[in-house]
Symmetry: C2
């Protein structure tokens, strides 16, 4: 099974399969509710839809890479997955999404109420889990991450259709919606293992840069992707009027006429046949897709470089490959 | 100012005004967001609407009553208020409410998205705050309370219009939606003060019983209240098809014809002119309002009795008076 052709996160999952069994068992145990059967129904729909479990894998890999032998990396990995799942439930309500991981969303199958309240339950369960290792620094990191995630989501709400949104604001949103949980996932692995500060920082940097690269790639694929490979339709973000990095770069280089086009289509949401094609032409004219790809590559390189501070091992090699794999999707 | 005519929670607020100033300052400081101004806008709308701040007062009173001299009861009181505020934001989305504390709700003034995400932010801020005292038992109590609250809300979602909902299920819902935060608020006051187990348990029991009495009184006022005094219209819960204690008691004593009436009006939601009057007649026929009042009184008595395990003081007297005051609204 372990061939070089397998994707790096699949090989991580194989290498850490004993730990992941523990994480999955803990998730099943803690998503239960004695009184409210609706909770495990909604949660199972999402948790068992076959997500990649990338974030808990990052926690397990970070802890093991730092030589951790105790039991609590499993709790922290489950915590991270619960926070992620809660966020997805609430995101789908906020975005009025109808599909997630190829299946109808919980807000569609049940209702918005269930998604909001079951999301709250999973947040609370995450906090119960993160208390169990009894490590105050871990609690600080994860509660800070939860605040950064929510702040990023609110910022996105106001910034998404505002043409003044620049690359700095985009980066804040991305750190909130994606990178904060990646960096917390890797950082707590090092903290629980008790490694020295420089290595903890390197793990944080890896997660932060990987998360940013991951989100930039996602936003780029929306304009250049092959929908059969990505499962996304080209132009979804354009139609939903989301200001992502490619468009931000094109707007920064726009003349008056182009600015008026973006204002009409993104800010006012007045879109007509042919607008997506025109948007793509403008992105190409200003080299915005190439520049976005270069940014994703730079964050990937940063992630890989930070791994040099950690001990050489098969796990470290896989984390480096994972960073390469994330950006490989846009070449 | 300090006359016997003042309500007990106003006198608590006066007695603890120095501590409450600290709580209010901390709430203002922590509801800020560097990046997302929408967050303090939404939060301020609710926080500054003049709620009674009953839950933080319970934490401050419990800690002081136990002789606590440190600074962290203020953090825990702010934590409890943030959890409460987050819950209100999400409740108003779930209930599609239009008014709260006599003002338009945040979901109406902004949108559901803002209420969901700002609520998440306040939950995260609450967890950051509760970590600061560095007390793991406090973290356990408050994260357990957060899970119980969310579980109770989900249970209510499925139980509210289900005629099989009995008094046991009602009590679980009430513990979740109201009593769990009351009992956590009082219990952490004792824990942070480091008093002995019997007194911690007494504080938990007081908060639990007070919270249950509080919610039963609220549900009873919905059927017997004077709308000018309570700000609620008689029959709101009936119109919203909420199965609360008075109706549960009437259903338990119903004959077949009465059962059919409750099935039509509550389960199916098919309500006609005169139905509320008929419902009130059935509640009176079976003595359901009197029996509900007796339950509220019994919980009040339990709350007062638990205070006997704590040292005699002005604060203890006020907590006893507070329990009497809660139930006095239905006589």
């Amino acid at each position: 099974m372990d061939t070089p052709m397998q994707k790096p996160h699949d090989r991580l999952a194989t290498l850490l399969s004993g730990d992941m069994d523990g994480v999955n068992a803990l998730i099943r145990e803690r998503m239960a509710s004695k009184h409210a059967p609706r909770i495990p129904e909604v949660t199972a729909h999402l948790v068992e839809a076959g997500g990649k479990r990338l974030r808990p894998l990052l926690t397990l890999a970070s802890a093991r890479l730092c030589g951790y032998e105790g039991p609590f990396h499993v709790h922290l990995a489950a915590t991270v997955e619960f926070i992620h799942t809660a966020t997805l439930l609430h995101d789908d309500v906020v975005d009025e999404s109808k599909q997630r991981r190829g299946r109808p969303t919980a807000n569609l199958l049940w209702d918005n109420k269930s998604s909001v309240l079951v999301g709250d339950y999973l947040f609370a369960r995450a906090f119960q889990l993160m208390v169990e290792p009894g490590n105050l620094r871990v609690l600080n990191i994860l509660s800070n991450a939860a605040a950064t995630i929510a702040e990023g989501e609110v910022l996105q709400l106001t910034a998404a259709q505002d043409l003044r949104t620049n690359e700095d604001i985009y980066l804040q949103v991305v750190r909130g919606k994606t990178a904060a949980l990646f960096s917390a996932a890797t950082e707590v692995g090092g903290v629980i293992a008790g490694v020295e500060e420089e290595q903890v920082q390197a793990l944080f940097d890896y997660g932060d840069a990987l998360g940013i690269a991951f989100q930039i790639v996602d936003d780029l694929l929306d304009y250049q992707g092959d929908s059969s490979a990505t499962g996304k339709n080209v132009g979804d973000d354009f139609r939903e009027r989301k200001l992502t990095l490619p468009v931000i770069k094109a707007i920064a280089a726009a003349d008056d006429e182009e600015r008026a086009f973006w204002k009409r289509t993104i800010e006012k949401g007045d879109q007509q046949d042919g607008d997506l094609e025109h948007a793509l032409a403008l992105l190409n004219k200003h080299g915005a897709l190439d520049a976005t790809r270069a940014d994703a590559q730079a964050w990937t390189d940063k992630a890989k470089a930070s791994m040099e501070k950690l001990p050489q091992s098969e796990l470290r090699d896989l984390l480096v490959e994972l960073a390469d794999f994330v950006v490989s999707r846009v070449y």
